[in-house]
Symmetry: C2
Subunit: 157 residues, 2 copies
DNA sequence: TTGTTTTATATGATATCGCATATTATATTT
DNA sequence: AAATATAATATGCGATATCATATAAAACAA
């Protein structure tokens, strides 16, 4: 009977939901690719959340905490604590907003800017290697696809 | 002098490294898209790592811990603890491998399989909505791109 | 003004995560 | 076989992340 056939091939990937699941593919690709660079980052004595903050501030210095947390892909309360540590290390400074004193704006220090610049260079170099290694001729399309996706998701809450 | 010009446009995105950085685009897209579904998951009383384990086991039951950790995108020691909790909740069971008793294989319980099935259905529905919402006509290409990327990165260490 | 609501950040308690290493089992070498 | 090396999982601890809420400022309403 058919029931017997079910027993065969238990080591083959029969159903394979996750292999074709967009969110898993994204998470997995991100996890693997970023993992490589995060090792480099660690080597420079910088943690992942710190790297994200440095990179975001380098692009746009003086962001307020809530906004920065969104860009750096972390929770507000976690960013606050990360900022504490980075302040102690002399990488960033807090300054309360003149116009609205609830707001706290974060600025790179000279040291922080220098480190950020160095890491961004490393990131660029790593990206180049990665793209070459993956033979991604369609990299422009992929990036624009991801950008569209992000924009849509951000606006759609 | 030129120095004065630097002061202008401090609110424009001048350099914008991260906006075009592949790893950031991937992380950001993954973060935002998965974030949506993770809320659903939470609503079902399931945590993200648990959901990943359930989905992976549903595709391939009886995996050993190390292998499963890789697929579920988490560290081995963390998976061990997640398995502890899931075992207590009656979602999975441990069974040591006959041939090599160092190995521990993880199996879905009936309850676990049922939950996994329910969540996979939810995930499929969510994915459909997401793809429709994003108007992703090129979804097949995107997925195959990500798959290629993952395969390359996995094999390359 | 005073009271109420909303917004921005900080804080504290708790759970999660990750590193280093312990434990146990197998493989290899002598 | 005994000793050593390697492999798979578990454990302890310190760091990190998250939730709920506190604090403080601004906006709004009465």
């Amino acid at each position: 009977m058919d029931a017997d056939l079910k027993e065969i091939d238990t080591h083959e990937k029969e159903s394979g939901f996750v292999d074709g699941y967009l969110l898993y593919l994204l998470a997995s690709a991100s996890h693997l690719a970023s993992g490589q660079f995060h090792e480099e980052i660690r080597g420079a004595g910088v943690r992942v959340p710190e790297w994200r903050v440095l990179a975001c501030l380098r692009d746009n210095d003086g962001q307020m905490v809530t906004q920065l947390a969104r860009f750096a892909l972390m929770e507000q309360s976690h960013l606050t604590k990360t900022i504490d540590q980075m302040t102690e290390r002399g990488l960033v400074t807090r300054r309360s907003d003149e116009a609205d004193r609830r707001r706290v704006r974060i600025f790179l220090s000279g040291k922080g800017r220098e480190l950020a610049g160095k890491l961004v260079k490393q990131a660029s170099a790593h990206e180049e290697r990665l793209i070459r290694q993956l033979g991604m001729s369609d990299i422009v399309q992929v990036k624009s696809f991801l950008s569209r996706m992000i924009e849509t998701l951000e606006n759609n809450e």
